[in-house]
């Protein structure tokens, strides 16, 4: 399998000869700078969207299917939490403070930054070969046998061997591909489909989803899927070696062997 970065940046060349001797072959830039920068911008935006999105949801923690839904409509389901609006029947005897103003401002600002960053990453991924080399799995890795063995290894929290750790395995590749090419586009689409003005120009974006309230419900589900991915992602980073993986995504430099 291809290495994450085909050009091994020899750190040793930049370091004085008296530096601790780490063989040059073992040290390399694991992630290209653009991937590292966009990764952390997206992380920051994702947390901003998660916090503000949750805050907005609290003002009406009921979900519906179809075009419309309100307190007089039977919800599809309701999150059993108190609300920041008195009109919502939650079963709680109190109303939370209204935080929707800054939440909405933050939600859309973070969404813009995330979408622009995502576009930059997409363009880079296509033209640098990042997607082809690092994310699209090789045909042989997609067999049920290979995938289920990957999956079993994950479930046992088995650390990858030193050489395998240099490349994403098929399961990793598939999850990243689903996040990048399915979940993110879906969360943007379902978000836009809630905009009254946007759908006035592009009505099919909301009718295809079954209506404005369906779009809101789907936006919620896709967000949950992204949060689940985040949890698994962070757990896997910890299993694989938190320090080395963080170093790899921050400075790009990584030591092949995780030291205890």
């Amino acid at each position: 399998m291809a290495r994450l970065d085909s050009v091994p940046a020899t750190l040793a060349a930049r370091e004085p000869s008296s530096a601790p001797a780490i063989p040059a072959a073992q040290v390399t830039s694991r992630h290209p700078a653009l991937v590292r920068i966009t990764h952390w911008i997206v992380t920051l935006c994702f947390f901003a969207l998660l916090v503000s999105g949750t805050e907005i949801m609290i003002s009406h923690p009921r979900f519906y299917w179809g075009e419309t839904g309100n307190v007089l409509t039977k919800p599809l389901f309701q999150i059993p939490i108190p609300s920041s609006r008195a009109l919502v029947p939650t079963g709680y005897g109190y109303v939370l403070p209204d935080q929707n103003g800054w939440s909405r401002y933050l939600h859309f600002q973070a969404a813009w930054i995330m979408v622009c960053t995502g576009l930059l990453y997409l363009i880079y991924g296509v033209f640098s070969g990042h997607f082809r080399k690092n994310l699209f799995p090789a045909g042989a890795d997609l067999s049920w046998r290979a995938l289920s063995s990957d999956f079993a290894n994950h479930l046992r929290f088995r650390r990858p061997s030193a050489s395998a750790a240099w490349s994403y395995n098929a399961l990793q590749r598939l999850s990243y591909l689903i996040v990048i090419f399915v979940l993110f586009p879906l969360v943007i689409w379902t978000g836009l489909a809630m905009s009254l003005s946007f759908v006035s120009a592009f009505p099919v974006t909301v009718t295809l989803l079954g209506g404005q309230q369906s779009a809101r419900t789907l936006h919620f589900f896709v967000s949950i899927a992204l949060v689940l991915f985040l949890i698994v992602h962070v757990v896997m980073v910890c299993v694989a070696g938190f320090k080395s993986r963080m170093r790899a995504m921050i400075t790009g430099g990584a030591v092949q062997k995780e030291r205890p």
């Binding site: 009921r62 007089l72 003005s197």
Partner: protein, 252 residues
């Protein structure tokens, strides 16, 4: 400094200069074509400006979705609101016969319209969604006079850029640009679902903007002012919404 890093520095310098001048040109055109919202200052300015500018470029003339009569929400919803003021109660006791809508500012003839006058203009109806920023929504038939008709009657001046509108409830006011003010679905609504507009839904007269969130559809309209500069109103952010922490443009 090695040659490589000097070259990098020069490249970065050129890129930064190009970026900054590009930004300058973009700002100039954005101002010229009215793509900057009044609440573009402050930390949320970037997101708000991008949202408003893209909406103006993509959706200036698009029509809000309309629905068949069978999709009207039953029973109709009226959301919570502050208790009506004494001024409102007095007018209500008189069956709103003395309700007036005054229009001033950049108009040829500042005018005070009675409800009867507004109802004598050709009435229009639309079956559209009213969606609240909180997440709930309902569909109703809205009956009224297009705002553009009222503005024409008062003789809007060519330099007009915004319409500011006020509720009888103190401190409740908002504003829209001319793209929304002259939009065929922007109504001064006085009827709903075939009857009078109930007080709970903003009766006797409410602004109705089906392409923006509910809070822009201010209830109990008594006064409108046409202007070329929102800085003169309130804290200069465009409306009471940004003063209370909410975005001025609510088409999102």
């Amino acid at each position: 400094m090695s040659n490589l890093s000097r070259r990098k520095l020069i490249k970065a310098g050129i890129a930064a200069t190009a970026g900054l001048s590009g930004l300058g040109v973009a700002t100039h055109f954005a101002k010229k074509y009215g793509l900057i919202p009044p609440d573009s200052g402050g930390i949320w300015g970037l997101g708000e400006t991008l949202t408003y500018a893209s909406q103006r470029l993509l959706t200036r003339h698009s029509l809000a979705r309309e629905f068949p009569r069978s999709m009207i929400s039953k029973p109709p919803l009226a959301n919570e609101m502050a208790p009506p003021s004494d001024a409102f109660k007095r007018l209500q006791a008189g069956g709103f016969a003395d309700w007036r809508l005054t229009v001033d500012g950049m108009v040829a003839k500042p005018t005070s319209f009675s409800l009867a006058q507004l109802k004598s203009y050709p009435s229009r109806s639309q079956i559209t969604i009213l969606a609240c920023e909180e997440g709930w929504s309902y569909i109703a038939e809205w009956i009224g006079v297009p705002l553009s008709h009222v503005l024409d009657a008062a003789g809007i001046l060519p330099q007009a850029r915004y319409v500011v509108y006020y509720s009888i409830a103190p401190g409740w006011w908002d504003s829209i640009d001319m793209a929304d003010a002259l939009h065929p679905q922007t109504f001064l609504a006085y009827g709903m679902n075939g009857g009078e507009l109930p007080v709970g839904n903003g009766g006797p007269l409410r602004m109705r903007l089906p392409r923006q969130l509910g809070y822009k559809s201010v209830k109990f309209i008594t006064h409108m002012s046409v202007t070329d500069d929102l800085k003169k109103f309130g804290k200069g952010l465009g409306s009471a919404a940004p003063e209370g922490g909410y975005a001025w443009y609510a088409g999102i």
